[in-house]
Amino acid sequence: MSFLLFALGMFLQTEPVLWLDQEQDNHLLQTRINGQFLDDPLVSKNLKSGLTTTVECLAEFSDSDQECPAGGASIFIRYELWDEVFLLEYWDHAGRHQQVQLDSVQAIQAWLLRTTLQLVKLKGACWQDEAVRVTIKVLPFSQREQQRAQKWMSRTIAAQQSKPGSNQSNKQVMDLIIGTSVKRPALLEFSWELEPMMGSPDGGQP
């Protein structure tokens, strides 16, 4: 029960706020994430493990015509064990890329609160009267780490099978098993239906 209450609390606290800022003829869907989810025990443990905790923020419009594109942003958080600092990397829909180095989880949370993430660039007025479905997923490692782990295992098995007397055709089966087994299950996943506010997170009006 306490776990459920905790999860509910986490859900409510993590709810992001959406802004729709006009830029010339387009509108930018932006958000700032509340990093309370980083206090979740699973996420907290994963942050210090050395793996790159990946936060994916996805935005989809619920229009039936599907004129509004979907979009999102990704944040990669890795604890550098040697230097004992958090290396944070951020990519958004517009292709903006930023790297920062922070000392603690609280610093990350503070950075998230003040960092505006651009999710989607919208043309026209497809967004009018439409709700936005926002999903935040916290994944235990990055796609690059996933591929590296798959290659490492495949390489190790291939080295074993290159010995005399082994069956080469089994490698393809093992690669298939590795490819389908190594997945990125979400540590946490939240989803909301939100209506964006007009303006920018800094308080500017369109």
């Binding site: 050395g50 064990l81 490692f141 098993i177 087994s181």
Partner: protein, 405 residues
Amino acid sequence: MSIKSTLFGALFLILALLFSFDYAYRQFTVPWVQFLFQSEFLGLLEESETDQRLLANLDPDQETRYRERFERIRAIRSNLQILELNQKNFQKNLNRAYLIVLALVFSLAIGAYLLHQRYVQRNLATLKNLIERLVEDRATEGQSVRGVFGKMEQMVREAAELMRTKNRKLKTLDHLSNWQESARRHAHEIKTPLTATQLEMERMESLLVPFLDTEARSIWQKGKSHVFKELDRLKEFTVGFSSFGKINQPKLQPINLRDSVADFVEIYAHVSPNLTLEWVEPELVDADWSIRADRDLIRQVWMNLVQNSSQALTADDKGTAQMTLEASSDGIQLVYSDDGPGIDEAVCERIFEPYVTTKKVGEGMGLGMAISKKIMLDHGGDLEWRPSESGACFVMTFPRPGGVA
């Protein structure tokens, strides 16, 4: 076993094996997979990383080296962490892969088994059909199977042919035995009145002839001569009936057939003025020609053949008859052939029947070949006519000691 019951049995077997495999996999393989992903290794690697940092602090000159080691250990640890997070996925997919391979192997095995069963059933049905046709003495052309069933088919055909031959011989033997019984009775029935008639004729001669004049005596003598001539013919038939009816059972003794035939030919080479008998050395020089036979009876057969060949020729003709031996799996075959006029094909079928002859009336009763056939059948062998381009050819088959031809 029907296809339905075979399929049901196969399905049950597959399910039982799959269940057993799944249970064994969970009990034995899963612990080993879990062993690989145990957290103790990750803990040790983490400690190693910490150690590298501490060493770098203690020995800053080697920091680069320690950093490299640290990065290598970290990379392996992160890979293992990722694999540990997906441990259940690995187990599940390995299990699926094993089950798929097992199911494929069993399906192939079951498929091959069913195909083999179908092949066996089809060939058995063909064999059964063949046997039924053979039993009913119907044509069996076109009935053919392959492989081991082909060998079985051949064995069945050979067995059927052997049975047919034996049945034919038994039938012939039975037939001849009936003729023998009939001949014995005829001989017995004719002998008594024949003797009585002769005695009565003599008694009448002694009583009546003294009272006859010369002319009457002449008539009496002529008549008596005719009657006695016919009585002699009847006596001859009676003797023939008797000899046919009293063919003795052979007293078998071991003899060397080659030596026996060679001796016979040497003695009787020119027994007939118009026929020369020759011995042809067999091709298999070192073969074993030992048989068990009644020497006197088989000589009777040979004499009969020689006489027939001689009687088939005219007084002016000169002919040759040859005797040789052949060996086969059935036994030893003595082949007798002449260069005479041969035997009419219409008669060949019945040549061994009693009273069937190609000779003129009064020149033979047609019992010789029947007697010869009976003698050979009593020896466990046979006497058969063999078609030849010219002349007549007969084959006497003798079983090897311990066997029956």
